[in-house]
Amino acid sequence: MLEPRTMNPEPDHDTPMTGTYVKVIVLQVVILALLWIFGRMFS
């Protein structure tokens, strides 16, 4: 049989990451806006 798993001290540590999710979305909006402006500027 398999031996018990090696446990990490805090493997189930689950911190809310709302701030990070907001940063991801803000970055994507900025990238999309820049790509759109860039395309218009040089079309």
Binding site: M1, E3, T6, I25, Q28, F42
Partner: protein
């Protein structure tokens, strides 16, 4: 290639094998071999996630595509950041807390062994075939540009990759991926520096951008809603979202990456790294292709980049016609260069259109002379630039980077195939009470088996252009339905095992039917269709047959 370039390539491959051997420490148990004892830091897992997704074809195919059509391919990734947030909130805590080796193990806990086995089988079939094809593409490329035979090219890619994956397990895969990602980014940045140096000898940055923009190559976003168009804002945001949810949430080759993280938090951070970095990284690769286009406005490009058929065409009845086309091409290139240099937009666009027409004509002649109807030179644009325009040393570095991408994408897949076959089938159905040593040996043998299987498929697929297309399409048949079954498992409480099983099969049938009957629908939408049908049918069956299911259980 110069001797120094060969030395760079050989040194890199040697380093990969030695480092893989060094990483085998701590992998003497199944948990260490398949999950690195859940000990890896988020940044290493995050880089491994990106390396597994980035194959050699991503580097050469994407740059070639950008050379021809510009930045629009980036739209495929528009759904990725949102997908990563959704996965961070849903499957990451589920899988990490469930202490599973494979994503499909969780399906047995939630439903039953039938759903787990079918889902894992679909993964194995799709991934095994695509692994062979993913190795065939760089092997064909390397054999063409370096003059090797296909089996030799396959072996040069596969032997180091099988060696370090078998010996070091998931740990070796992850740490090799980390180094390979740095090599790829450094290589691409070097190529961009060389391109800019060459371009700035002829024009300034502003004029270079205006020239690329005039041909539409800087138009990254297309807001038209047309299901026939593969890459639009909407297909990327909606179809791409479902593709990324399926790939990162249900494909063992990716799930296994973040199962190696130290904790839920670190697994989340590893996925969110892709959310931040993937689109900029893809833009870096695509920009390289656009810069190659601008570079060749001022330096004579070859008429066709894949020259493997040159001798055949030269000795065919079409030889005279081909020579005449080459003369036309040389004239059109000279006219385009003159128009680009003096900034005459109208003359530049008309001469560029003429260059395109002549290339199409030349491609037609090659197809006719060689009988190769699938002849295409997209994947040869960037390698041609590397071999003919980059300085000594950097050529070797870029070839090593292409090898690196091929090995890092395949190593993760190989590791995942071994894990799914041992955990979901061998340990579950055949030898249920084996020892730790027994399962470790089985995992290593499974890695070698899948590695050899991939070599054979790659060698065969290299000469079967249509087979590559079939395998790529098969992946899009499976992913949406797999996502649907995980949605039923994680987001609904009423879904039953029979409902999930019927939903999974219905999703597969619906996607195959749509692909067959409505071939004009772009493949990105298949993921959405498969997921929606699987969830819809799964819920209906679950609600209609709740009691019967209880009896069956």
């Amino acid at each position: 290639m110069h001797l120094i370039d060969w030395l760079v390539v050989v040194a890199y491959i040697g380093w990969v094998i030695i480092d893989g051997l060094r990483r085998s420490k701590g992998t003497d148990k199944v948990d260490g071999y398949l999950l690195a004892n859940r000990s890896l830091p988020w940044w290493a897992v995050g880089l491994s996630v990106m390396a597994t997704q980035m194959s050699a074809v991503t580097i050469v195919g994407t740059t070639g595509q950008a050379y021809l059509t510009g930045l629009r391919f980036v739209q495929l990734y528009f759904g990725l950041p949102l997908a990563m947030i959704i996965l961070s909130l849903t499957v990451v805590p589920f899988f990490t807390r469930a202490r599973v080796y494979t994503a499909y193990e969780y399906l047995e806990r939630r439903f039953d062994v039938r759903v787990r086995s079918l889902a894992s089988l679909l993964f194995l079939v799709a991934r095994a075939a695509s692994l062979g094809v993913a190795l065939a593409a760089p092997a064909v490329l390397m054999s063409t540009i370096l003059g090797w035979t296909i089996p030799a090219a396959v072996l040069v890619i596969c032997v180091p990759m099988i060696a370090y994956t078998t010996i070091g397990g998931v740990q070796a895969v992850a740490w090799t991926d980390v180094k390979q990602m740095f090599l790829v980014v450094f290589g691409m940045s070097s190529a961009i520096a060389v391109l800019l140096y060459g371009i700035f000898h002829s024009v300034g940055l502003s004029q270079a951008l205006h020239l690329a923009g005039a041909t539409g190559r800087l138009q990254a976003i297309d807001f038209t809603f047309d299901p026939r168009e593969t890459y639009t804002f909407w297909s990327g945001m909606i179809g791409g979202l479902f593709l990324m949810l399926s790939y990162f949430g249900c494909d063992q080759s990716q799930v296994q990456r973040y199962l190696t993280a130290k904790s839920i938090d670190e697994a989340r951070q590893s996925l969110l790294m892709s959310a931040f970095v993937k689109i900029p990284l893809q833009l870096l690769i695509l920009s390289t292709g656009v810069l190659v286009f601008v570079f060749y406005l001022f330096q004579a490009p070859p008429m066709l980049f894949n020259r493997v058929h040159d001798a055949t065409v030269a000795s065919s009845p079409q030889a005279g016609e081909y020579a005449a086309i080459q003369r036309d091409f040389d004239g059109a290139i000279a006219a385009r260069r003159a128009a680009a240099t003096r900034g005459d937009r109208e003359a530049f666009l008309s001469s560029d259109a003429r260059v395109k027409d002549i290339r199409a004509k030349a491609t037609g002649v090659v197809k006719q002379a060689t009988g190769d109807a699938s002849y295409n030179d997209v994947n040869y644009v960037f390698p041609t630039f590397i071999l003919t325009r980059m300085p000594m040393g950097l050529v070797g570095l870029m070839i090593a980077a292409i090898f690196a991408a091929a090995m890092s994408a395949s190593g993760g897949e190989l590791n995942a195939l071994a894990t799914a076959s041992v955990i979901d089938f061998y340990r579950r159905h055949f030898v249920t009470t084996g020892s730790e040593t027994h399962y470790l040996l089985a995992s290593k043998l499974a890695t070698v088996f899948w590695g050899l299987f991939a070599c054979v498929v790659a060698t065969y697929a290299a000469n079967q252009g249509s087979l590559i297309e079939v395998v790529n399409r098969y992946g899009s048949f499976v992913y949406g339905s797999l996502l649907g079954v995980f949605i039923l498992a994680i987001l609904t409480k009423r879904a039953t095992a029979t409902g999930a099983l019927v939903g999974l099969v219905a999703g597969l049938i619906s996607v195959v039917t749509v692909a067959w009957e409505l071939p004009w629908i772009a493949y990105l939408w298949h993921n959405l269709i498969g997921a929606v049908v699987c969830v819809g049918v799964g819920m209906i069956v679950s609600l209609l047959l709740p009691e019967k299911l209880k009896t069956e259980k």
